[in-house]
């Protein structure tokens, strides 16, 4: 069926287009982009006052499927993605069992094709059972369609194993994503070590734990001549290490989360378990450094590390709550509110870091509105004011540090391969 997205402001970082234009879609593809397109037989979607962008991609989410469906599954997780304006997500391997073999990659891809509302890229584990002892069958998983490998959730502590993983994955052009926190330094800690932890009496996870782990991982990647992607960068030191590595030509990319870009450790006052996350929310100097890194390109992409947990898991004493919270349905709103409406970032920059860059890092199609490209499109209203109501979330994870916050900006339409899967906040698929 033909659709015409009419009268929106089209922002496409891939072609540097930022203009009022129409987009004609047919057969799941973008067939024409330009001013004053008329198509008598097309369904007209009025986009005036809205931004028409390439489909947003979140390269770091936890869909919890298989095995942890009390937290989330393919359906609820991809509904949340559609509601948040994402046409694709890449899901981490720390499920039960962990996704560490081709049969699991294939099975999950098949389930996502059948039940998913948006595209799902499957990330495989680097080691068998995610035990950090032996390499998983990385080649086999890549051939089965894995988009990357990662041990996200914890750091691969054995340097020799991580070096092998980098070298091995590079043979298959398989991106490696690292969750970099030195395990010994963060042991027993559950918030950023600093003034707030000193007052609250909570054992800290010092920022140097991240600096060290990222330094090691980058050095190993440099030594191997292999690319590496750093997940959820949060420390000032890490930003500096990545910036320096990029300058000397290391093939390193990095992402930052909305929560690390926006919140500080002061959010932990009050002991709300919806503020507990790894790496932890850090102090204002780290947040400023992270934003500067996002601005100058040291940080390539924004990814939310959507990490839903069941109500009863988060409804406990702070120390006993699992780390992580939900993010897909607040990511764009938070970024627009805090980075765009503050004048720090342009819409072009934001769309780039939420669509084109993740696609590039994963080496997949997407993140472009070029004629002939697959019609994965996100339409959002940057002026739409709304309040975060977690009980209305599609995700099963209701814990969010943004609960109750007023945001400005929201996705109003999500289109996957020409099919509208979300409209005005309602998932339609």
């Amino acid at each position: 069926m033909k659709r015409l997205l009419k009268g929106g402001r089209v922002i496409d970082p891939a072609s540097r287009i930022d203009m009022l234009a129409d987009v004609l879609i047919d057969g799941g593809k973008i067939v024409k982009l330009g001013r004053g397109i008329s198509a008598m037989d097309a369904e007209i979607v009025d986009c005036s006052g809205k931004i028409v962008a390439p489909g947003l991609i979140d390269m770091h989410v936890h869909l919890r499927d298989p095995g942890l469906e009390a937290k989330e599954d393919i359906v609820s997780g991809t509904q949340a993605a559609a509601a948040g304006g994402f046409t694709m997500v890449a899901c981490m391997a720390n499920t039960r069992p962990p996704v560490d073999s081709s049969i699991l990659v294939e099975g999950l891809r098949e389930r996502a094709r059948r039940d998913g509302i948006v595209r799902v890229g499957v990330i495989g584990a680097m080691t068998k059972g995610m035990e950090g002892k032996e390499l998983a069958e990385i080649g086999d998983m890549k051939l089965a369609g894995a988009v990357a490998i990662s041990e996200d959730g914890h750091h691969v502590t054995r340097s020799n194993l991580f070096l092998s993983g980098l070298e091995y994955a590079a043979m298959f052009n398989c991106p490696v994503i690292t969750h970099a926190e030195d395990a010994d330094l963060v042991s027993g800690g559950y918030m950023h070590e600093g003034t707030v932890s000193a007052v609250l009496g909570i054992p800290g996870r010092p920022s140097v734990a991240e600096d060290i782990a990222i330094s090691r991982d980058i050095m190993l990647a440099e030594y191997a001549g292999a690319p590496i992607h750093i997940a959820h960068v949060s420390s000032k030191g890490a930003v500096e290490v990545i910036r320096a590595a990029k300058q000397r030509g290391v093939k390193v990319t990095a992402e930052a989360t909305p929560h690390h870009l926006v919140l500080t450790d002061e959010a932990v006052y009050g002991y709300d378990t919806a503020t507990k996350v790894n790496p932890p929310l850090r102090s204002a100097d780290h947040v400023a450094a992270l934003r500067a890194g996002l601005k100058d390109g040291t940080i390539d992409a924004i990814a939310c590390d959507h990490a839903p947990h069941a109500f009863e898991e988060k409804d406990v004493e702070y120390r006993y709550a699992p780390s992580g919270f939900t993010g897909l349905e607040t990511s764009l709103g938070v970024i627009l509110t805090e980075l765009y409406h503050t004048g720090e970032f342009s819409l072009m920059e934001i769309v780039d870091k939420m669509s084109q860059q993740p696609a590039k890092i994963l080496g997949i199609a997407g993140g472009s509105l070029a004629e002939g490209a697959v019609a994965d499109i996100t339409v959002f209203d940057p002026e739409y004011c709304w309040t975060v109501e977690t009980d209305k979330f599609y995700t099963r994870g209701k814990a969010s540090p943004f609960a109750g916050k007023s945001l400005k900006g929201k996705a109003v339409l999500t289109m996957v391969e020409g099919k509208i899967v979300m409209r005005d906040g309602q998932v339609t698929a």
């Binding site: 600093g194 003034t195 007052v199 609250l200 002991y271």
Partner: protein, 318 residues
Amino acid sequence: MGKSSVSLKNKDILQLQGMSEAHIRLVLDTAKQMKDIIDRDIKKVPTLRGKSIINLFYEPSTRTRTSFELAGKYLGADVVNITTSASSVVKGESLRDTLLTIEAMGVDVVVMRHEVEGSAQFASQILKPVVINAGDGAHEHPTQGLLDMFTILQYKQRIEGLKVVIVGDILHSRVARSNIWGLKTLGADVHVAGPATLLAREMESMGITVHTSVEEAIEGADVLNVLRIQKERQGKGLFPSAREYARLFGINSKRLKLAKPDALVMHPGPMNRGLEIAPDVAYGDQSAIQEQVKNGLAIRMAILYLVLMGGEEVETIA
């Protein structure tokens, strides 16, 4: 004592951070009158008759639990102790459900000791009855802070302008944090001292001075509050040995001489004699350690009285 406009009626007592000077003074003044009751032949008064108090202790405790229990009983309340090792907690009951169960039985006050920072605040968000924090992890232990201030007042008649030095494992100490906030509110000059591994430099944001030299900290002190060293910290690599700690940081008579001649020595207990404090100091003329225990009872009577009755009837029982 006249009727006061400040009241703690139905107020949760979670922390001394943010507690106003007027509220702190109300507790300290009330405790003075409560202390007289302890010395009576027949201690029981009917003030809290018909009120019920639950002591919910997730950690072992001698003096805090016993003094809350006796405080309630002396004032005529019914007090029930729950030791979690003998409760549904061992069957995996969540804190929320344990609290709701207690609430359903119609209690008026829940006194809770818990190993996790913030659990008292968590409880206060769930419960309608008053919550009194009897220690939450390394966060705060407000009644200990109040009894320490009460003890200082007893011997020094004032707190404002005094140099109070807290020595030991500051980083993991709820006693230190409650003392710091309370003492700062009443105008003391607060210093902390200990090995760098048991301190947080960032605590200077609380308006105190942080030292790694005990000698430097003690110089001219009016009050020394010596904290317990938990031996398991040694296994975590935070200090090399009990022997070295005692030698470099322990409070002995030689170090005590650096303080003012009439300096007061306190310890929240339980003590490791010969580790953080030498026996001759612990039992010496300057020690108020035994008095602290008695004062703890008076403070807890005052707190229970104030949260349940408000304070209007203080004169009638004293």
